[in-house]
């Protein structure tokens, strides 16, 4: 019964994940895309729970859905009609690159499925209660991965400074603006 429930949750989460992912990419209105991203992140959080990564799942919901997506929504609202301005600055040679990427990824899917048929990937380690718990994560962060932890704070600080600089981009008077 429990097995069935887990399967059910997984199937629902997986379908939601794929559907919302596609929605993010396909919606022409960035506002809907950002909303779809919330669904995407939420279904990811569910999957993380199934993988016994409770702390990551919690962080996912708080950081992403709570902060990042909200930021996206603010910006989209701020820009209004300008938000979906097409932009020629993206990666070039899209068609070729897309085909190559799709091909490479298709190969990988086949690989994964093949491995699964091989039964090699269906096993998982036995993990104790503590696996994925805040205590374990905290312990790792402050011992083995202390440097990574510190670096994340630097990355955030730089992003904050960058945000301040970019936010200061006030339209300037013409005579000074033309350099």
């Amino acid at each position: 019964m429990e097995e069935f429930l887990v399967w059910l949750v997984w199937v629902v989460a997986a379908l939601a994940l794929l559907a919302s992912g596609l929605a993010v990419v396909l919606f022409s209105n960035p506002f809907y895309s950002a909303l779809a991203l919330i669904g995407n992140l939420a279904s990811l959080a569910v999957l993380y729970l199934l993988l016994e990564a409770e702390f990551v799942a919690a962080a996912q919901v708080l950081v992403y859905a709570g902060a990042v997506v909200v930021m996206f929504l603010f910006v989209i609202a701020y820009l209004g009609g300008q938000a979906d301005t097409p932009w020629a600055g993206g990666p070039t040679l899209q068609a070729v690159a897309a085909v190559v990427a799709a091909g490479a990824i298709a190969v990988e899917v086949v690989v994964v499925i093949a491995l699964q048929a091989d039964e090699r990937l269906s096993d998982a380690a036995d993990v104790g209660e503590a696996f994925g718990s805040p205590a374990q994560i905290g312990n790792l962060f402050l011992s083995d991965h202390l440097l990574a932890f510190e670096v994340t704070s630097i990355v955030l600080l730089v992003a904050a400074v960058g945000g301040v600089i970019l936010g200061s981009a006030m339209p300037r008077p013409r005579e000074r603006g033309e350099r």
Partner: protein, 492 residues
């Protein structure tokens, strides 16, 4: 619940990272209190002191002991490869201080500019020491994010902003690929540390490992701007403020290539037959694409961007050789290349300020005779980029070719020679414009900018490094040997 034990930290090993980081904080905080007039000078002074201090610290570490060791559970390494790369990054940073001191955009956001420059160098210093996939990813993002902001720091200039956005998007795309590749490698070997990956390679799922290795290579290829992952390079180099471009061209290449070398050699020695061939293909693509596209460029910055793509090819060539000679070749080449990149972009910056317009090959006309020192230096850099003496890239190319020939890939050296011949045309075009075209062809200059002794000093330092690296080849190659000899090269 495990008993928590705080890790012991080798602060000395982190000193190049910490010195620059501390400098960044000082500049950032001080610029809140200092009057705008002195911010620029103060920031520049702090930046210069920190770059010198960090370089000195790295040199001291290099001299202090020859054995490498891991820091904080092998998250990063304290070894001579990292320390030499740190010296190069700091040197590029120091030169960039001189080049950007009078850059017009610096006046408004002086504090943030210097802080970001220092932080970027700090991130690179961390990145080159990375010893597991997580620190590699984080170090990459650390300095990349600084560079995204530096590219767009002239927030009133649309080209700069668009370049920053493009850099961010393409760069993050590369990082995402790198991340997914890292995940696959982690899954295949059960480890993120480079040595453990090498140890776990044998029993891991090989298909995952190969796919992961390929994606990691692609991610690093984006940073090194090697073809076919180079498409951002010309636009970003053109849009970014010129001194920042010089710093990116020099320091990013050092960081990306040193890490590529370390990762491939320490983590994937067992997959040598795969990545050497993959790199050889990337080398050929970069040489072909960079050199052929550079032929038709009008803008000097774009031309130099394509030239940097082609040099990514030359720099990857010794890594593709996979032997110790190649490791030496890479580091020696980087010494000369990084100095000359900063110097070349510095000269472009001068002309750009004179004309108040983007520099094209056409409006360089007469520049060589107007400013003999800068013109002569630029000529030296251009001849040097071709690979002619008396610049050190000449020997760098000899070493790179020697490395692949020693591996038995003479054909790759011939490909390199052929595209060097192609490259003559566009490098010489710059010299021709500077010295052989009548001055009237250039757009009327917008007044003479004030003399910029710091910039000239930076260019002079680049010239000294460029020529000195040829004359003092033996000690430099010994240093390069010290830096790489502990790496377990898979070939020869």
């Amino acid at each position: 619940m495990d008993e928590f034990t705080a890790p012991t930290i080798d602060w000395a090993a982190l000193s190049p990272v910490l010195i620059t980081l501390a400098g960044a904080s000082v500049v950032l905080l001080a610029s809140l209190f200092l009057p705008p007039g002195v911010r620029r000078g103060f920031g520049a002074a702090v930046a210069a002191i920190c770059f010198v201090g960090a370089a000195a610290a790295a040199i001291a570490l290099f001299v202090a002991d020859e054995s490498g060791r891991g820091i904080v559970s092998e998250a990063i390494r304290r070894d001579r490869l990292a320390e030499l790369a740190q010296v190069l990054v700091m040197g590029a940073g120091l030169l960039t201080v001189g080049v950007s001191y009078r850059e017009p955009e610096r006046v408004e956001r002086a504090g943030e500019y210097w802080a970001l420059l220092l932080t970027a160098a700090s991130g690179m210093a961390f990145f080159v020491a990375a010893n597991n996939l997580m620190t590699l990813f984080l170090g990459l993002e650390w300095f990349s994010i600084c560079l995204y902001v530096l590219t767009a720091i002239a927030v009133e200039r649309l080209p700069g902003l668009e370049a920053g956005l493009k850099y961010l998007i393409v760069g993050s795309f590369g990082s995402a690929i790198l991340l997914f590749g890292s995940a696959l490698v982690y899954g295949a070997t059960g480890a993120i540390g480079f040595e453990e990956i090498a140890a776990g390679t044998a029993e891991g799922e090989r298909l995952f490992l190969v796919a992961g290795l390929a994606m990691v290579l692609v991610g690093l290829g984006f940073k090194a701007s090697a073809a076919p992952f180079h498409m951002w390079t010309p636009d970003v180099y053109e849009g970014a403020p010129t001194p920042v471009t010089g710093f990116m061209a020099a320091a990013t290449k050092v960081a990306a290539l040193v890490v590529t070398l370390r990762l491939l050699v320490t983590a994937f020695p067992g997959e040598e037959e795969l990545w050497t061939v993959a790199l050889a293909v990337i080398v050929c693509a970069s040489l072909a694409w960079g050199n052929l596209a550079a032929l038709v460029q009008v803008s000097v910055k774009r031309m130099l961007a394509y030239s940097s793509i082609s040099h990514a090819g030359f720099l990857l060539m010794p890594i593709a050789a996979g032997n110790e000679l190649g490791g030496r070749a890479l580091l020696y080449y980087l010494i000369a290349y990084s100095a000359m990149s900063v110097g070349a972009f510095a000269v472009v910056a001068v002309r750009e300020r004179e004309l108040a317009a983007p520099v094209t090959v056409g409006n360089l006309a007469g520049f060589g005779w107007e400013r003999p020192f800068l013109g002569g230096s630029m000529a030296l850099f251009m001849f040097g980029f071709i690979g002619l003496p008396p610049a050190g890239i000449f020997l760098g190319k000899i070493y790179a070719f020697a490395a692949v020939i020693e591996r038995g890939w003479t054909w790759l050296a011939i490909v390199g020679a052929v595209f060097t011949a192609v490259s003559i045309y566009y490098y010489v075009g710059v010299i021709r414009a500077m010295f052989m075209q009548p001055r009237e062809l250039a757009v009327a200059a917008g007044g003479s900018p004030p003399p910029d002794r710091l910039l000239v000093a930076s260019v002079a330092a680049s010239v000294v490094v460029a020529v000195g690296s040829l004359l003092a080849a033996d000690p430099l190659i010994d240093i390069a040997r010290d830096a790489v000899e502990f790496l377990p090269f898979p070939v020869g």
